[in-house]
Amino acid sequence: MKQQINDLLKPELLNTVNGLELVARIVVEGFMSGSNRSQSIGVGYEFSQYRSYEPGDDLRLLDWKMYARSERYYIKQSEIETNITVKFILDASRSMDYKENGVSKLQYSKVLIAALAYLARKQSDTFGLYVVNDQRISMIEPRFEQQQFMRFLNELIAAKGEGAWGKGKDLEALQRYVGKEIIIFFTDLYDNGKDIQEFVSRLKTSRNEVVVFHVMGNDELNLETEGVFTFEDLETGERRKVDTIAQQKAYTKRVNDWLQQSRSWMLEKQIDYHLVRMSHTVESVLVYFLNSRKRLFR
């Protein structure tokens, strides 16, 4: 199953709405099948079950018709409507075009976003998309509509890696407080100075939840390809001749320090940080993410 999903990660498939939807559905259905749905029960439109009245229960929830038939107090329970808004922010800077095994970080992120959005739709959550770089910010404001998902996928497919991470006032629109929400941010954390750190810090408020998916390639983490190469910065075009054998140790240490540092400042801000290795399948990443959230709420 996992291999099949990886085979699906091809540009020609990911660049069409149907294709992306298909991939997202396969990913999600793959691990959702057989699992229970909502875990919390409360006031809602959809009936769930009856239970006996206990002192302290809201009298408004008493089912009087049931009392008339059986002369017992029953409380009518239904599934709680989860009115959570999920905002996806995608870092569409040029550096996200970094490829490993033919799949770029951007494409990988797109599949993850599509899968999560599909999940959100199933759970009747509203979701929106913000694709950000320094040239433009395209938005799909969170709505609960039938067409939302298609619009969402269209925008997602249109996203291209250009320029650098955005700066300035345009970003403030993203930081507008809407209500209870989850913000899921896909990025490689490559920026100038601490742009992204500042941005993420400001996203976090006491009432929302921020999740950062840090997408990293395997080679990027370990500098495994041996030899002398010219490294070119995707964003600046700057070139450096690098002897990977000589530098590997120092490089790995620097990267690990950087990851550790990122993780710790996010932890301080109560931001959920996930390092995503592109060598892992999209499905396994999703399973891991959802399981960790489940553990968090129990």
């Binding site: 970094y98 490689d188 990027e220 010219t230 910065d233 690098v242 002897d243 990267v255």
Partner: protein, 386 residues
Amino acid sequence: MTFANPSYLWAFAGLAIPLAIHLLSRKEGKVIRVGSLRHVEESNTSQFKSIRLNEILLLLLRSLMITMLVFFLSGAQCTNPPGAGEVRWLVVEAGIGEDPDYRPQIDSLTSAGYDLHEFPKGDYWTVAEQLGRLPHEVVVISYSRVEGYNGERIRLPENIRWISAEQSPKEFQAMAWQAGDSVFVRTARSGSLLTSYRTGFGVPDSIEIIKPGRITINISADDKSEADILMAALNVLKSEYKLPIEISNTQSQSPMTNAWTFWLREAKPKFSGDQQVVLSTPCTGPLIERISGNVLHLNRKLDQDVALNENLVIELFKILYPDLDTPNVSKQKDIRSMPDGLAWSDGETKNTGGNVPSRAGIEKYLILLFVLSLATERFVAIRRNQ
């Protein structure tokens, strides 16, 4: 350096191949596009420099290989360049050193680094054979006198350049003899092509005047015409060269003292004289041939044809006055020279020894160098890829 097939030198254009490889591979190498350079450093360590050095070494080796290949194809040969320190000989025949015609040549060669040596007048072929054993270049200037070539003709060794000096013709008095109260002088004119003589009255310079002794000749013949021809021939000697000859046609059957007897009869002579010329059975060979101490055979019957064609007068002169024949002074001063075409054999010669060919094929060195550079190139290339 010379080439057997210079047209193959076009293959030097192949040098563009390693050069192109070098320039193309120099161009940055493989480019890896990454998100950020923040974690990598520019490698400019000594190792990196050694890699660049390796590339230059590879270029040189590859160029060398192609050069070797081209040299091999074009059949390169090494000619020993006239360099300083090399031993070269100039060998001249005794006497040429003083010849004003050849002095400048000798001087210019000696100033160009040739060691001057002299060899005495003598057997040129022996000299050439000895010089041919020398391991270096030899220039020989000789008069190439005809009498210097004796024995089996050899081929001129390859390290020798033989220059024949030409001499201007010279005249000298070969001999002089007294006839009566006058003196005959035989004057020779000798050049590189021929030596000619003429005889006439004259005053001898420094040569001895020979006084020929009186000879009495007794002719006894069956056939009178034979006796007449002989008489005529003797009369030529007597009248033209004033030689003191006395002829007594006595038909005597008895020996005579102090006289020559020409016995031209069928019957054998019954006596023996001082000198006796006997008509023998006609046969080939010289006209007059000495058989024993004082007996000579006349091998043909004398008639007009024989007398004219076989130089009867000269033959008679030779036997009657042997000391007037070509004297030593004439041999010494004869300067006829042997044309170079005749002096040296064209055919295969006996190996004259350790002469070093001045032009050497270098194929085996080229192949060796090619193989060596190929091995080194592979070694360096593999190490570089590691």
